[in-house]
């Protein structure tokens, strides 16, 4: 038990150390910006993975929660001159309320209802961002969102913002690792594996599903606030249906029910479009293909699936080796 706890803190600690050392080597602003985006995406994907990978429920509208965080922070600070940190808290509260409104009816039923309800929800929220021009600035966006600051220090350099984003993301990773390795985490996985058995074991599945839905929405909201204060300009197109699908793809690539996989998935699908030109023209075709191929052949996700294949290959090789030496 304590050994396992130690193992977890060693993982988080060494990853944190690695992250802290990166800016020593990487000083180029563009690279730092990409790393900040990876951090924000990781925060989103870790939250979504709690819902999808662990509890087996899906959100096809997670961009909406990301957008709610970004727009609430943006509007409160740019239009109403509220200071960013309280704005971020208000954004979280608002997101929780909205997540309950959508999640409570949809989660009573099978996963298909949640998937479709969140799909619709994502599109509707996008429409609101576009149509409520007086509030959101409409399709042309919202400008003048201030940079974040801690005390008197304004985090206007990529390097400082990098530290802030990754400190929060690393914290979220640590919390998530604790959650999945606990009574609650086991209950979430139990829901995914067999809901009847989970209920018979005394798990209030309906409430737990709502909880995890809300938690993942909160992660998304915080990520949205961080995003808004980073680029200081937001427009509806950053929160459209395709972004929700990209997040799902990141979970699928990273692997279901794997927190570290989520980091990998977020990093891969943030970097690849930057380097590979094919992504620009055909991104939806490629994302579609990834989703189909991975889920058909490796329903546990790409990293898990690849590991399983490797394991199988090694076993076969060992068995073959033994039978050779035996004969």
């Amino acid at each position: 038990m304590s050994r396992f706890l130690g193992y977890k803190s060693v993982q988080v600690g060494s990853f944190g150390l690695l992250l802290a050392l990166v800016p020593v080597v990487v000083t180029n602003r563009y690279y730092l910006n990409v790393l900040i985006f990876i951090g924000i995406h990781t925060l989103l994907v870790v939250g979504l993975n709690l819902l999808m990978g662990y509890a087996g429920q899906i959100s096809l509208g997670h961009a909406a929660f990301f957008g709610l965080g970004a727009y609430t922070s943006g509007i409160l600070t740019a239009t109403y001159k509220l200071s960013p940190w309280p704005a971020m808290v208000i954004a979280v509260v608002l997101t929780v309320a909205v997540a309950l409104l959508v999640g409570v009816p949809a989660l009573k039923l099978s996963g298909y209802y949640l998937a479709m309800a969140t799909l619709g929800f994502g599109i509707i929220v996008y429409i609101f961002f576009k149509e409520l021009v007086w509030l959101t600035g409409g399709p042309s966006g919202l400008v003048g969102i201030p940079k974040l600051s801690i005390g008197n220090v304004v985090l206007d350099e990529p390097k400082t913002y990098y530290f802030l984003v990754w400190a929060i993301t690393l914290g979220a990773i640590a919390l998530s690792l604790n959650i999945v390795d606990s009574r609650v985490g086991r209950a979430l996985r139990a829901i995914h594996d067999s809901e009847p058995a989970a209920r018979a074991s005394g798990i209030y599945t309906a409430r737990l599903k709502i909880w995890v839905f809300v938690v993942s929405a909160v992660y998304a909201s915080v990520a949205g606030s961080l995003y808004a204060h980073f680029i200081t300009f937001i427009s509806p197109s950053s929160f459209d249906f395709m972004f929700s699908i990209k997040l799902v793809t990141m979970v699928v690539v990273g692997g279901m029910a794997s927190i570290w996989g989520a980091v990998f998935g977020a990093a891969t699908l943030t970097v690849l479009p930057e380097v590979l030109a094919v992504f620009h023209d055909f991104d939806i075709v490629i994302f579609g293909l990834i989703l189909m191929v991975v889920m058909i052949f490796m329903p546990q996700g790409l990293t898990r699936g690849a590991l399983d294949l490797w394991e199988k290959y090694r076993l076969q090789r060992d068995v073959a080796g033994e039978s050779l030496s035996g004969g």
Partner: protein
Amino acid sequence: MIELSRQPLLKAENLSKSFGGIHAVREVSFAVARGQIKGIIGPNGAGKTTLFNLITGFYAADAGAIYFNGRSLNNLVPHQVAERGVARTFQNVELFDRMTVLENVMVGRHPKTRAGFISAAFSLSKARKEESGIRDKAMEILNFIGLSERAADPSTSLPFGFQRVLEIGRALATDPLLLLLDEPASGLNAGETRELGRLIGRIRDKGITVVLVEHDMSLTMEVCDEILVMDYGRTLAEGSPREIQQDPEVIAAYLGEEPFA
């Protein structure tokens, strides 16, 4: 208090449930005394599993009442029934396939523990203490059912017979007063069935009341104190194994099936 212990642990009164015009359970009444092993038998489709689903809150009864430990179970949903002290297994073995043997049993401790999202996320000391308690208790149960050596294996790696036993272990982890076993012997060979019979006896010796639904009768006749026979959703007979074996109605219903072979 004396009154309470004389009362039956479980009492069903005129339970009925139908699905689209088909009466799965029709005005069934029975009682289970504390410390008893009670068998419910009957041919396929007699309504045995439906009865379990009514007791455990998976179905709501159309009519009738269920009392457990002196309190009504009507209108409760499954997790509430589990919290009251009723545990169950499933006919088709419902394990958590992506968990280890130990974790499966640990899930069973859910109704007896409290840690929520917040205390788990921040790994508060009370959550950590509780977690190690869960682990100890689960190991204790694995010892009891004889699976402690397989604790770290994936549950799917167990042979089928052990999977059934593991499911019973998970149910025991909820500290039940009443354990409902849905066809625990189906799919088991004769040796495994005997082993299961001994396990059920040991469970009763711990003070847990057991109700088991069975399609075939060898196990039931051997371990049960009392048997309820169902046919077409109705109660056909109730009594000790000996009485049941001699009941003309039961023999008639089973005619040609050689139930006591």
